[in-house]
C-alpha cells in the first residue's frame, strides 16, 4: 500500500500497464513532453519513447479516429482528451464507429481502447472546462463508461479497462485529482472489476447513489444527516455502463428511499436512468419520491460555479426530504 492522490494513482496505472504490455500506447494533445496539462501522463514519454507516447495535432476526431484504427489492428490505445468538453469533435468516431465496430462486423473487428478524459467542475473552468457529459456515452450501446472516486479505484479501474476487450470512456473527476488522497495497493496485478458498485457508507434509512467527485460531497452530506439520526447508505457506482443495478435495487428495497446526486445537467442525465430503473423494478418498496440532486439545465457557469454545483447542503436537504416524506 502507498498513499497517493488520484492523479498519482492514474499515473502509476499507466506506467504499470505500459510496462506490462507493449501494445499499450498513449496519444493526445500535450501528453508527451509536457506530461499532460494535468500531468497525468508525466514521465511516460521519457520512459516509453515517442513511438508509444504520441503528442498529436489538435484534433480530437483524429485522436479517436486513429486510436480506433490502432485498436482494430491489435494495439491497446489509451487516447487522452484534454478536457471532456473537447470530446465532441470526436463524437461521430465514438458513437458511429468505436461503439458499433464489434457489432457491425460480427466481432471480426474490435476496439479495445480507453478514452481517458478529465471531467466535471470545481476548477473554475466555466462552460468549456467543467461539464459532465457521461449521459451522452451511457446512452450509446457498445461503450463502457467508468468514473473512479478514490485513488485505489482510479488505479484499479483504469488497469481493468486497459486490459479489457471493449471501448471505454474513462472519466477522471478533475476536481479531486490532487485533493483526494488514499491508500493504493502496490501489487501490479491489482484491478477493480466493472459493474460492481462500492458501498462507500452503509446505512439503513436512505439510499444515496452517486459517482466521481460527487461521492465526496455526498459523504459530507451523509455525515451531516447522521447527526440528525438519518443513516444514509452511500453507493459509489464506479461504472455507469455496465451499471450495478442489483446493488442499487437491493439497497433501495432495504431503505425504501432514494436520492441520486450528480454534477451533470439534470434532464436526461444518468440520475434519471437510475430513478427510472427503480420506478420500474422496485416501486412497491418505495416510501418516498426519488429525488435527484443535479446540476441545473443551463450551461456550466464561471463566476457562479459554486452555486451551480450540488453542495453538501443541497444533497442534505434532499436526504431530509425523502427521510421525512
Amino acid at each position: 500500500m502507498s498513499t497517493m492522490t488520484v492523479l498519482q494513482a492514474l499515473n502509476a496505472a499507466l506506467h504499470e500497464e505500459m510496462a506490462r504490455d507493449r501494445n499499450v500506447v498513449c496519444l493526445g494533445e500535450d501528453i508527451g513532453k509536457n506530461g499532460g496539462v494535468f500531468r497525468t501522463t508525466d514521465g511516460l514519454q521519457a520512459k516509453f519513447g515517442e513511438d508509444r507516447v504520441l503528442d498529436t495535432p489538435l484534433a480530437e476526431s483524429g485522436i479517436i479516429g486513429t486510436a480506433i484504427g490502432m485498436a482494430m489492428y491489435g494495439l491497446r490505445p489509451v487516447p487522452e482528451i484534454q478536457f471532456s468538453d473537447f470530446i465532441f469533435p470526436a463524437f461521430d468516431q465514438i458513437v458511429s464507429e468505436m461503439a458499433k465496430l464489434r457489432y457491425r462486423s460480427g466481432g471480426e473487428f474490435t476496439c479495445p481502447m480507453v478514452v481517458r478524459t478529465p471531467y466535471g467542475g470545481g476548477i473554475r473552468g466555466g462552460h468549456y472546462h467543467s461539464q459532465s457529459p457521461e449521459a451522452y456515452f451511457v446512452h450509446t450501446p457498445g461503450l463502457q463508461v467508468v468514473v473512479p472516486a478514490t485513488p485505489a479505484d482510479a488505479k484499479g479501474l483504469l488497469k481493468t479497462c486497459i486490459r479489457g476487450q471493449d471501448p471505454v470512456i474513462f472519466l477522471e473527476p478533475k476536481r479531486i485529482y490532487r485533493t483526494v488522497k488514499g491508500e493504493v495497493p502496490d501489487d501490479p496485478e491489482f484491478t477493480v472489476p466493472l459493474g460492481v458498485a462500492r458501498i462507500a457508507r452503509a446505512g439503513s434509512h436512505v439510499t444515496l447513489v452517486s459517482w466521481g467527485a460527487m461521492v465526496h460531497t455526498c459523504l459530507e452530506a451523509a455525515e451531516e444527516a447522521a447527526k440528525q439520526g438519518i443513516e444514509v447508505e452511500l453507493l459509489d457506482l464506479r461504472s455507469l455502463l455496465p451499471l450495478d443495478q442489483d446493488t442499487i435495487l437491493d439497497s433501495v428495497k432495504r431503505t425504501g428511499r432514494c436520492v441520486v446526486a450528480m454534477e451533470a445537467t439534470r434532464t436526461c442525465g444518468v440520475a434519471s436512468e437510475i430513478s427510472a430503473i427503480i420506478a420500474e423494478e422496485a416501486i412497491e418498496y418505495l416510501e418516498a419520491p426519488i429525488v435527484r440532486v443535479t446540476g441545473f439545465d443551463t450551461p456550466f457557469p464561471y463566476t457562479l460555479e459554486h452555486v451551480y454545483m450540488p453542495s453538501p447542503k443541497r444533497v442534505l436537504s434532499a436526504i431530509e426530504k425523502v427521510a421525512k416524506f
Partner: protein, 369 residues
Amino acid sequence: MSESLLTILGPGGSEKTRARVKLNESELLSLWKAMVRTRALDERAMKLQRQGRIGFYVPSFGEEAAQVGSAFAFGKDDWITPSYRQPGIALLRGVSAERMLDNCFGNSGDAALGRQMPVHYSHAPEHLVSISSPIGTQIVQGTGIAMAMRIRGTKQVCGSYFGDGATSSNDFHTGLNFAGVFKSPIVFLCINNQWAISLCVSGQTASKNMAVKADAYGMPGVRVDGNDVLAVYEATRVAVARARAGDGPTLIELLSFRMGPHSSSDDPSRYRPKEEEKAWAEKDPIRRFEEFLITEGVIDRSTLEKTHEQADTEMAEAAKDSERKPAPKIDTLFDDVYAELPRHLARQRDALRAEGGDHAADADAAFPL
C-alpha cells in the same frame, strides 16, 4: 503535384503503352477478370434489388479500373479500409461472391449476421475493414492502422478508399494531417467519380482538383486517369513502395465517373445531364482495357465472351446459394455489443424471449438513397 493525368492505356495503338506495362500476361488477365467479375456482381445485385429480393444496392459501374487496378498493387498482408463502392477489391482479394451476397441478403451467413445494410461488408480474413455508412470515417482509421503498423515495425501498408464527396469530411482532414505528421505507411485513394449523390465535384470543393489537397498535408499528390487500369496500378505501386520504405503517405486521385445511379434508390435524371453520362459511357474502363488486351493478343473475342458469361453464371449461382440461407436468429440481436453479454442485455433478451413473436410490421417505407 502536377495537374496532368497519369495515363498509360493510350487511344489507338499500344506501342507506347506496352513499353510502360510492368505486368506479365497472367497478371493482366487477373486484373481483367476481376474487373469483369465486379461488373457482373453489380449487375446481378441490381437485378436482385429490382426484383425485391435484396433491399438496397450500390453499384460501382464505371469504377472497375480504379478499384481493381489500385488494389492489385497491395500485398496480401496489407490492410484496406474501403468505402461501400469497391466490391471489386473484395473479389480481387479472394472474397467469394456468395459471401458478399450473404451480406446483401442480410442472412445468417453474413459475417455481421445481417446487422448492417447491404454493401456494408466485413472481411477480416482478407484485411478488408468493416464498412460503415458515415462518409469518411475510414480515412482516419486507415491512418491509425498505418500508425500501428509503423509502431510495430511490420512493413505492412494500409490503403484507404473514399470518394470525392468524402474529401469534405472532417475525417479526410485529420486522416491526412495525422498521416503526414506521423509519416504513416498509407496510400489514400480518392476515387473521384465526380458525383456525390446529386452534387457534382465543382460544388464539393473549389480546389483545382483532389490531388492538390496533398500539399496541405506535406505529402505527394498524384492524379491518375482512373479508367486506365494500368495507370492506376502503376501509380499505386509507386505509392505503396514509398509507404513500405518508410517514406510516408501519398494521396492518389483516380479520376473516373459514376456511370450508374448513386444507389438502387437514386434517380440521376433529376440532377445529371444525360450527355455527361453518354460521354463517359464511351470511356468504359473495361472495354478500354479489353481493346488493349485484344490488340496485344492476350485475349481473343471468344475468351472475352466466355469470361463474361462465366462471371454472369458465377454471380447467378452465388445469389441462388445465398438466398437459400436462413435469416439470423433473433437472439443474435444481443450478441457482439460487447465481448461478453452484460446483465442488462441479458435481461432485455430474456424479456423479448418471454414476449415471443408478433413483432413490429416490417419496414413500411422505401429506402431513399
